[in-house]
Symmetry: C2
């Protein structure tokens, strides 16, 4: 059907300046990949994160998670703990690279896992914790890092939805060993629909990433007299703890990098704008306890999504009435991973995650693209009120 | 150093129309990935290839080779035969997916492997042949297909450099089981520096590609009454011959796809222009037998590169004089794969490929980006003549 307000997977529009930056790169970039724009983007992102992480631009965030998973060096039987309530790309790269998932539940208020929900799953087989700052909210990283240090665990921060979110003055993605960011179409900033960034804490692990990203390309480990002898460059096999890691091609193009660099100037404003609207919507429904929101009026939440949890088994009725009566396409996100056929077939179909299940089964995710007009936004708020009134009067 | 003519890794410039098409997509695409522009690009590419292949747009050609490698279903010990004289991304995806490379030599005239150089390496362990249409020249596909059919081998056509090249009215990439095309920065057409296409012959194998490309996303295998129940979509595990294949995220964005669609209108003209120039250069050096070229005045060669082979051990002297005296950056490409550290460390360091070695050790690859001016091109030809004259008079 055709909606008045559809659930867009495009997070934001580009300014004319940003379009000009992209077209300038289209005209001038030589080469069009792996050049100066990539270097600038990585340098600026490093600075954005606070200068203590080495950053690598990648074709998407899944590629970042896959490289992080390779660098986790899972041995047979090694487990990683991850919330079942997340996007599938948070998880499957770690299975590909040899890890066994253990499903953590979420905190019902914050909707992300916390130190307690992780702690109860730690065993002698646990190798890593995958924290997901879902919805744009930074999980309880100080407590989680304390837990990880106590048990000598690697920490991956899937910050795909949380670029620029902060806790105690530190950015999401800079607490653990690996921080992964997404510039996918739906995200708060997007590099033409696809793109990602991997931030790595340990310099020795970071030194492997260029080869893992780009076909194993590297310099020769000796000085050459002529630039073409013995060849233009070497291709080597990255190794970690004596184990070879096969390379990938996870490169991001120069136009995307030029655009991403420009968007970093705007990410904080976009995040503030999203939070302003989210809070207005949440407050606008404060007389309707039938939908519960996670209200955070600080940089800790950048509101990548606007998600309510319906109380009293009214979710499906609400979404149906919003769609049919108001032309507004609400959706439901983050099918608990253990319910998907992929995870069931791999033997990971059972999870003891009542809070994640309960959130999913009652979730209403409202259209929340930044380019929605104020008029549309006001119409959505008014429509939600009216639909809730209708349901009350059933 | 700064060159008058550098070896650019950017193949071509964009027209103002193409830039407008990209900016239109930047403004209008919703979503910015996996939407209608991807569908149009794939449909048009299918038509471009002659309508008997299912085509899939990907983040790069390596991703296409990796998916093809997964679909080859290598068992332990299975071999694939591939020329040692190629780019590393032609090969390593097949090693990642379990194949053992066997190095084929090239035909010294055409510079690609042929049925004879493949045939002598076929054993009971051979599973696949990876044909590389290197430089833009279509290998002897009818003979190679006859050989493959006789031995029941899969055939992968790495057509990264040969988009639009034809043999007997058939396009490169449409003879074998898999055809892979590249839109990398350096290629005859480029989708903003990164991009690729995978063409698949067998519809049942093709049906797995969408899931292998995009996180395992798929529809539920039952009709749903409400679009959000039980979830917005399923994630499943692709399986082939009962063996699960883990998915990837190999998506190409909408702006790239819109641009790629437009570039298909221009690829034949670009290829003709490249061939015209290559033939002019080759003919302009016909009085200099010190450099041998592969001259093909037909659609079978689209001259992705302009490569000569020096005779009489003058290669290094020639490149040095071109660089230092003329400011022209010639390069040397396709270090025999067995010489790279990656392949040596994996145990594939030996190859009996004298022709590939000889070509590499005497190769001169001239700057050949399409956006080189006619004046630069004439200067390069004149400089080559002068340098050869200098070398004669040593």
């Amino acid at each position: 059907m055709s909606y008045k307000i559809h659930f867009s997977n495009r997070g934001h529009a580009y300014t004319e300046d940003e379009i000009r930056i992209a077209t300038d790169a289209m005209r001038s970039a030589d080469p069009l990949t792996q050049g100066r724009f990539r270097n600038s983007f990585e340098e600026k992102f490093t600075s954005f994160l606070g200068n203590d992480r080495k950053c690598f631009a990648l074709c998407n965030a899944t590629a970042g998670l896959e490289i992080a998973a390779m660098l986790c060096r899972f041995q047979p039987g090694d487990e990683f703990i991850i919330p079942s309530h997340t996007f599938t790309a948070s998880c499957y790269p770690f299975i590909k690279k040899g890890g066994t998932p253990v499903w953590a539940d979420i905190d019902p208020e914050t909707r992300v896992a916390n130190a307690q929900t992780f702690a109860r799953l730690i065993s002698s087989r646990t190798r890593a914790i995958v924290v997901v700052h879902l919805y744009g909210f930074v999980a309880d990283m100080p407590e989680i890092m304390e837990l990880a240090e106590k048990h000598n665990l690697l920490v991956v921060e899937d910050s795909a939805q949380a670029i620029g979110a902060e806790l105690s003055g530190r950015k999401a993605g800079t607490f653990g060993d690996f921080g992964i960011f997404s510039f996918h179409s739906h995200k708060n900033i997007t590099t033409l629909g696809e793109g990602g960034m991997l931030a790595v804490k340990d310099p020795s692990l970071a030194s492997l990433v260029p080869m893992l990203r780009h076909n194993g390309h590297c310099d020769f480990n000796f000085a050459r007299q002529d630039y073409w002898l013995p060849a233009m460059g070497n291709v080597d096999l990255p190794e970690l703890d004596g184990i070879p890691l096969m390379p990938n091609n996870f490169c991001l193009g120069e136009v995307e990098c030029a655009l991403g660099t420009a968007l970093l100037d705007r990410i904080n404003a976009i995040n503030r704008d999203r939070r302003r609207r989210a809070l207005a919507f949440i407050d606008g429904l404060q007389d309707y306890p039938e939908i519960v929101f996670h209200r955070v009026d600080s940089d800790r939440h950048i509101y990548h999504l606007l998600v309510g949890k319906a109380i009293g088994n009214i979710r499906d009725e609400f979404i149906r009435r919003m769609a049919l009566n108001k032309g507004i396409q609400c959706v439901v996100q983050y099918y608990p991973l253990n319910r998907y056929d992929l995870y069931r077939k791999l033997g990971f179909g059972y999870a003891d995650c009542p809070q994640g299940d309960d959130l999913f089964d009652n979730m209403i995710s409202f259209p929340f693209h930044q380019w929605m007009t104020e008029e549309q936004f006001a119409y959505m708020l008014q429509s939600a009120r009216e639909v809730l009134n209708e349901i009350r009067q059933r």
